[in-house]
Amino acid sequence: MTSKRKKAISLTAASLVVSLVVLLTGLTEQALPQKKVMLAFWQTVEHGRAPLAIMHKEMIEAFEKEHPDIHVSLVMMPFKGFYPKLMTVIEAGVAPDIFRLGAVEQTVPFDAIKGMLYLDDRFEKWEIKDDFYECGLEACRNLEGKLTGIPKDLDTRILYYRKDWLMEAGYLEPPKYWDELLDVAQKMTRDTDGDGKIDQWGIGIPGGKGWDCWIYGQQFIASNGGFILTPDSRRAAINSPEAQEGFQFAVDLLRKYHVAPPGTPTYMGRDVEKLFVHNKVGMLIETGAWFLGVLEEEAPQLPKEGRVGYATLPQVKGKPPVYFLGVHSVNINKETPCPDEAWEFVKFYLSDKWQYEYAVIRGEPARISTFDVGIFKTEPYRPYREQMPYARGPRKTVHWLAITDILITRMQEALSGKITAKEACAVMEKEINELLKR
């Protein structure tokens, strides 16, 4: 190679390196405000996307005004794939300072990878510590009872029903027990246009491959006193008589009594909500408080005309009521360099004003006193409030996501008629036990 060519290559390489260094330095300088504590906060985009994003933006602006030495960088991302991403960044040591978790199913797995700061000491000193539902706090505790996060919204499901259809079915009050639920559903299921085909059904069931199907199955199992796992979470309890009966009833609503549309095994939660909005089903038994926003947007005339009723979920006669609980928490990264500032942000996030603003969009507040304020005093929220003392999450294990998939898969097969409910419970017991051994 000639010396001229060598010089040209060296000069080009050197210029590239220098440019890269200057660029990176410049970008870094611009990104970080001088002399400020930087907090990164990851939140998922869920029901109520735009309002949720706006609310978080406003909340952060208010926080930064009160704490001018702290800058919070918000990242909102789709729910799908959120947890694998979060696990990856925790493993890589570049996790955000604060993040959201689905506490019921994620507390134990994320605690297993030492991803979260324990908050017991800080929580004990917090003036509003007695204002949180114990069921929400319990969901945020790890297997040793340490508090890994603070609940920011709770999630139980209530019965949404068409009042006009209920009256046509001969009922003045919504069903309280399973036998009433079935009777009402059967009376609501009919051919409305006289063409000999059923075109209106009693219940919308989310039988599709998603989280709502899992909650649907869990609710009936839990109501009947059944559990997925034994108390020590070491073996499956899904094949117990109580769990089997609950599972059987959940399947029979479609397979035996035909009170839900035939396409049920393909319906996600959103599809079932659409069925209600478009007058195809008369009751929803697996829908959260966000549905109020959906009704307002897509069928405002229904609640306006008083045609929608809200009730606690039907239970089993003679057994104590149980309502399946979901919890979303806000957690602090164990390795954050700014734990005190992160805790200040968490407290601000869950303060009176922002807990209310957040819960209005998301569904149910995690704080007891928030139910006494604004829209939470209104009728649609009454059943949620009544259910709280009896709400419980499932027994804790690191394998929740896999167990969820097992339940959803076999529920879908049972709803499709491929296997019976009894066979499904036996298969689930085998698969869960194999999984727990791994």
């Binding site: 696990m87 493993e91 297993a112 996501l401 898969t409 879908q412 097969e413």
Partner: protein, 302 residues
């Protein structure tokens, strides 16, 4: 012998010295290729022999992950579904791709426009395509059932994504999505066939079918082999379409190896088991490719 080896080695050194700049320029690509392809593969093989715990201690389990895989009903169902999915998708894409290529090779008006239109499925993002198909095929609100019911072809709405029809439906969607790839390869092949063959056949009084069987197909064979091989490999490991359309459901009706691997590795975080599934997928693709190449070695020309 030693002198011979030294000579060969010396020749290689001289060659590297002579083409120093070329080797320098391809080094970054090789490094990236190693980091992105070879290293993850080696790491996956390594992890597949462990019970992997994130931020914990990995436990060596030997072949347990592989044994668990081949003993699990769920995995064997996924294996069976993968075979059905791959064979049917590849065959369907080949037939439709060949038919379209033959049509678009004709000297028709607007041929360029039609060729462009035929590429639309291929360039449509998979997620957009599956979201659209899911709604088109919805049993209550979908347009397909609406049309079929109104035409009296069906009496009840069909559950296109129900447990019995989910696999044929996703295969159909995949055929629609992937046939342009085959079409483009075969069209290029068709345009390379010398017209003199057809003219000679015409003179001899050959029928359309005879021309197709004795001229078109033999001349297209190398392109067909390439198209089928690439299509089969692509379909075997195609994740996006099934995952976004059915996530492997209902039940395990459309569960394939890649969706099973994704769930185990990234959802349940059983990375060792997920890696083992990945290596099984790799092994199947490798064996298939080697066998295919060996059988058709003479006709594949690159």
């Amino acid at each position: 012998m030693r002198k011979g080896v030294n000579t060969v080695f010396q020749k290689k050194i001289d060659e590297i010295r002579r083409y120093k700049l070329a080797y320098l320029l391809i080094t970054p690509a090789c490094i990236i290729g190693f980091l992105v392809l070879i290293f993850p593969l080696l790491d996956a093989i390594y992890l597949s022999f462990f019970n992997v715990r994130i931020r914990g201690v990995n436990t060596f389990v030997g072949l347990k992950n592989y044994i668990d895989f081949f003993q699990s009903d769920w995995s064997l169902t996924a294996l069976k579904n993968t075979a059905v999915w791959t064979v049917c998708s590849t065959f369907g894409q080949f037939l439709l791709g060949l038919a379209t290529a033959l049509l678009l090779n004709q000297p028709i008006k607007g041929r360029g426009l039609f060729r462009g239109i035929a590429l639309i499925p291929w360039v449509t993002p998979a997620v957009a395509a599956t979201a659209t198909f899911s709604w088109i095929l919805n049993d209550q609100f979908g347009i397909v059932n609406y049309i079929l019911l109104n035409l009296g072809i069906i009496k009840e709405p069909v559950l296109w994504l129900g447990i019995s029809l989910a696999m044929p439906t996703v295969i159909f969607t995949n055929i629609w999505k992937g046939f342009p790839f085959v079409m483009v390869i075969l069209l290029a092949g068709l345009q390379g066939i010398d017209k003199a063959y057809y003219e000679a056949a015409e003179v001899d009084g050959a029928t359309v079918w005879q021309k197709f069987s004795y001229i078109t197909i033999p001349q297209l064979k190398p392109m067909i082999n390439v198209a089928v091989l690439l299509s089969a490999i692509w379909n075997f490991r195609y994740f996006t379409l099934i995952f976004t359309m059915t996530e492997g459901g209902p039940g395990t009706a459309t569960e394939v190896l890649v969706t099973l691997q994704y769930k185990n590795a990234f959802k349940y975080l059983t990375l060792g088991y997920g890696s083992a599934i990945g290596i099984v997928i790799f092994a199947f693709v490798l064996v298939f490719t080697l066998l295919y190449y060996r059988i058709l070695r003479e006709t594949i020309k690159f």
